[in-house]
């Protein structure tokens, strides 16, 4: 297996996630796009770990998974409070801090 096939798959997932995070209005869908980005990073970490025959890639992938779980928990709590205050989770309307 080529190293690049995994790296290209990771790059594709990353770019799809960036598109989704920029183009979506619904806050839950933006969080899903961020999960795509984090998974792209994880594929790269594990692929390089296998390439160098070193377990450190897997260790960092596990750290990223733990941080992603924390991020989704706090993110969905924030989405819930936005919904409670505005009765909608359209994030184009959340621009209170816009200069």
């Amino acid at each position: 297996m080529l190293l690049n096939q995994f790296l290209f798959l990771g790059a594709f997932l990353f770019c799809t996630g960036v598109y989704g995070a920029l183009a979506r209005k619904n806050a839950v869908l933006v969080l899903m796009s961020i999960e795509l980005i984090l998974n792209a990073v994880n594929i790269n970490l594990v692929a390089f770990g296998a390439f160098r025959n070193n377990p450190v890639g897997q260790v960092f992938a596990l750290f990223v998974i733990a941080i992603a779980a924390a991020e989704v928990g706090v993110g969905l709590a924030i989405v819930l409070i936005i919904y409670r205050n505005r009765r909608s989770i359209d994030i184009t309307g959340v621009d209170l801090m816009k200069g």
């Binding site: 080529l2 190293l3 183009a23 450190v56 897997q58 779980a69 924390a70 706090v74 709590a77 989405v79």
Partner: protein
């Protein structure tokens, strides 16, 4: 070697299609279900790379916990179940251009940097080796992440509580 490449091709095509559907579908619940396909594909890639422990953790944490959390988020915010044409904002063409540009830059850099280097998987990377690494060299980041998870848990409860 050939079997691995065929497996990778099938999985990668399914993942690419699923990822595109996650960011383009008009139905919020369907987006979560397509996300499940992409996450299982990532787990299958870990198996191909002989990283079994990470693959199992991926299934348990991502598909088991995070997707359920997303579905709860969709339910609690009463997103319209079914078709909804108001999911994309007006900067989607700029976002598409940026995504394609980013993929072009990343792809050309990767092709130049790693060319045709092969991954030689001689044996499965043992979970014991991963555990040794976590609990010796990376024990401080590991403990920091435990505190981070606790802080995120308390923070989520404090933010979402009705007072």
């Amino acid at each position: 070697m050939v079997a691995e490449n065929i497996a990778f091709g099938v999985i990668a095509l399914a993942m690419a299609f699923g990822a595109i559907r996650v960011v383009t579908t008009k139905n919020v619940v369907h987006a979560a279900l397509w996300l499940v396909l992409v996450l299982s594909g990532v787990a299958a890639n870990y198996i191909l790379l002989a990283a079994e422990f990470v693959a199992v953790v991926q299934v348990i944490v991502y598909i088991g916990a995070i997707v359920v959390l997303f579905l709860f988020g969709i339910m609690l915010t009463r997103a319209p179940i079914g078709q909804d044409s108001e999911l994309d904002n007006n900067q989607r063409w700029a976002a598409l251009v940026l995504g394609l540009l980013l993929f072009g830059v990343l792809g050309s850099v990767l092709a130049k940097a790693f060319g045709r280097q092969h991954v030689h998987i001689t044996s499965v990377q043992r979970t014991a080796d991963v555990a040794d690494s976590v609990f010796t060299t990376y024990v401080v980041p590991f403990e920091v992440i435990s505190v981070l998870l606790l802080a995120a848990l308390v923070g989520a409860v404090v933010i979402a509580r009705r007072d």
